[in-house]
């Protein structure tokens, strides 16, 4: 289960994710996320309530990272320990802007 709460403020897009970002839920986020990147000035992903991220979820983040690279600032906030460990293991912490 993944709840996606989408907010837009002054051209900045905020996604609040709640639940698990895995094989089943990742396509939903990908569709939602990739279709709303056009013309935004910033992308903020709030992981405060995200419990788990699988490789399918990482793939969505990577796609978003590539799509925004050099154009829009993409930032991930409120990452919990479990997900931070996954980011570190997979090396994503090197390329993503995590607060």
């Amino acid at each position: 289960m993944l709840n996606i709460i989408k907010k837009e403020e002054e051209g900045k897009l905020l996604f609040e994710l709640e639940g698990r970002l895995d094989t089943i839920t990742a396509p939903d986020l990908e569709k939602d996320l990739m279709s709303s990147l056009e013309g935004i000035s910033g992308l903020l992903l709030d992981f405060e309530k995200l419990e788990y991220i699988s490789s399918a979820g990482l793939r969505v983040l990577l796609s978003a990272h590539k799509a925004t690279a050099g154009k829009t600032e993409m930032k991930i906030v409120h990452v919990n320990d479990i997900i931070m460990e996954i980011f570190e293991t997979t090396g994503f912490s090197d390329i993503l802007d995590i607060e």
């Binding site: 094989t23 699988s54 490789s55 399918a56 990482l58 793939r59 990577l62 796609s63 590539k66 570190e88 293991t89 997979t90 090396g91 994503f92 090197d94 390329i95």
Partner: protein, 548 residues
């Protein structure tokens, strides 16, 4: 049409039987009603005509002189009247005509005045009563009729005797009053007329009626039965036959065509045909789907075979090398998977160890896994440190990666003569390392980005020294992330626990131990991710002995 069913009665014979029975009942009812109305018409006719005869006969009797006749006076007039009556009676064909004077106190008996008998009419043997012959009233019915004439001014009373018990023939007795000149009832003229004509006429009438009714009923039955058979029974039987045939053969039959002029039956036939067409199409589709599934299944099993053979899977892996012991396993969640391991000698002293996990599962992941394995193998043979090799592999994957696939890779090169292990991790889980006489611990280091993520990433070489009896356990995330039916994960902590239970065993036994520990944890839940493990034990100085 021949009956096709044995255990059940055919609807055709039942329906026709019902129609015939109905028609027979109809014929019987018609006959009975006919006879009843015949009877009533006959009775009405004969009583009216007899009344007129009797009424005419009273003209021949002088009502004023009845007492005188009985007293024996006016004998000539009496004889005159008697002879007129005799002649009249003969003419009109009645058995007995008689004039009586009834005792009006209780109508219990009467006295005969005139009595004319003609036995030839009905083959009877009556004898004429003498004038003054006194007789009991025959029964209550006569008594009531006499009273009606004397007291109620009735002009005619009739008694029918169909079923006589006293040996008499069936007859009608009509009674009319004989009045005196003042209009008072002086006596009663009774006329007894045979009605055997009725019985005689009734039988042929009954037979004619019954036979006609039965014939009409039979003809009607035949026509109704033919009609029902043609319009209802035959169509239903042909639909039933077609349905039975279809159930047995499952093939499209000939069109039933127009089987009935009834909309409901024609619709039924149409629906059967539509159903057959649809069913046949579904069955064809189903066989096509089944065949396709079979084909895919065959291909997948071949693919599985190819994938399994793309990595080393014979153990012991290097029977002539006693410096180390290695064991590995790969169990995809589906037929094919994205996990892989590999090991090979780069040269006589350098053994490459690889484990990887392509994002996703199934066929797409397996294709990427094959490509990655080959790229990695080719590049590793060309020499260089693990970080250099990884750099190249990452760029190669990125160059052709259009679908956003990536792969976690761990590559180590073990210098067998010295025990020096150099490795690098592209986003892969930390290896568990066992130091002789110690325990398995995760070797936490900084990781590079998963391969295929972004091009031109820099990877770092990490060095560690392996000593006699040390072991390294490599795995994919299918192990710590194995999930039970309540969505609980196995976790790296449980993995370490299990590793340490088996820490002093051989690599093969360790893998077996971890696998059964995972299986026990997961229970009934299906395997969700590929599970791949590799374990190597370094035994540099084999003759010196190890703990294993």
């Amino acid at each position: 049409m021949k009956k096709t069913r044995k255990r059940y009665s055919g609807m055709e014979s039942n329906i026709i039987g019902a129609i015939v029975m109905l028609m027979v009942v109809f014929a019987v009812v018609v006959s009975v009603l006919g006879v009843l109305s015949f009877n009533s018409a006959f009775k009405k006719e004969i009583s009216t005509s007899t009344y007129h005869m009797a009424d005419t006969a009273t003209m021949l009797v002088n009502g004023d002189e009845l007492d005188d006749y009985l007293a024996g006076e006016k004998k000539e007039e009496y004889q005159q009247a008697k002879s007129y009556l005799d002649v009249y009676c003969k003419k009109i064909h009645v058995s007995i005509t008689y004039v009586i004077m009834v005792d009006t106190s209780d109508y219990g008996h009467f006295v005969s005045v005139f009595n004319c008998v003609d036995n030839s009419v009905d083959n009877t043997s009556y004898t004429e009563w003498e004038p003054g012959y006194r007789r009991e009233t025959t029964n209550d019915e006569y008594r009531r009729k006499y009273k009606a004439i004397y007291e109620n001014g009735s002009d005619c009373e009739t008694v029918f005797r169909f079923n006589t018990t006293d040996g008499q023939h069936p007859h009608i007795t009509t009674m009319v009053p004989v009045r005196d000149s003042e209009g008072n009832v002086a006596g009663i003229l009774c006329m007894q007329r045979p009605i055997s004509e009725l019985s005689n006429a009734r039988r042929p009438f009954l037979i004619t009626t019954a036979v006609s009714a039965l014939v009409i009923a039979a003809i009607a039955s035949v026509f109704i039965a033919m009609f029902i058979k043609r319009q209802v029974v035959s169509p239903i039987i042909s639909v039933s036959k077609e349905a039975t045939r279809f159930a047995a053969e499952n093939t499209k039959g000939e069109s039933l065509g127009k089987i009935s002029s009834y909309e409901e039956l024609q619709n039924l036939a149409g629906s059967i045909e539509t159903m057959e067409t649809d069913m046949v199409r579904y069955m064809d589709n189903l066989s096509a789907v089944a065949a396709e599934k079979e084909r895919i299944g065959t291909e997948l099993s071949l693919a599985k075979n190819i994938q399994e053979n793309s990595i080393p899977h014979k153990f012991p892996a290097f029977p002539d090398r006693d410096e180390f012991d290695i064991y590995a396993s790969m169990d995809p969640a589906k037929e094919v998977g994205g996990d892989f391991y590999n090991y090979y000698f780069i040269d006589d002293d350098h053994l490459a160890l690889v484990i990887g996990d392509v994002s996703g599962k199934g066929i797409p992941a397996s294709l990427s896994m094959m490509a990655t394995n080959i790229i990695m193998g080719n590049r590793a043979m060309m020499g260089g440190t693990p970080a250099e090799i990884m750099h190249y592999v990452n760029n190669r994957i990125c160059a052709k990666n259009t679908v956003g696939m990536f792969v976690t890779l761990w590559l180590g090169i073990l210098e067998i003569s010295t025990g020096k292990l150099t490795y690098t991790s592209a986003g892969h889980d930390d290896p568990a390392v066992y130091r002789r006489d110690g325990t398995f611990e995760l070797q936490k280091t900084k990781h590079g980005l998963v391969a295929g993520g972004m091009a031109d990433m820099v990877y770092k070489d990490i060095e560690m020294q392996l000593n006699e009896g040390d072991k390294i356990f490599l795995y994919t995330d299918g192990v710590p992330e194995a999930t039970d039916k309540d969505n609980n994960m196995y976790t790296a902590a449980r993995m370490l626990e299990a590793l340490n239970i088996h820490r002093e065993e051989t690599p093969q036994q360790i893998l077996k131990g971890i696998r059964s520990s995972v299986d026990e944890f997961v229970g009934e839940a299906p395997q969700f991710d590929d599970i791949t493990m590799l374990c190597i034990e370094y035994k540099k100085n084999h003759t010196g002995g190890t703990n294993a």
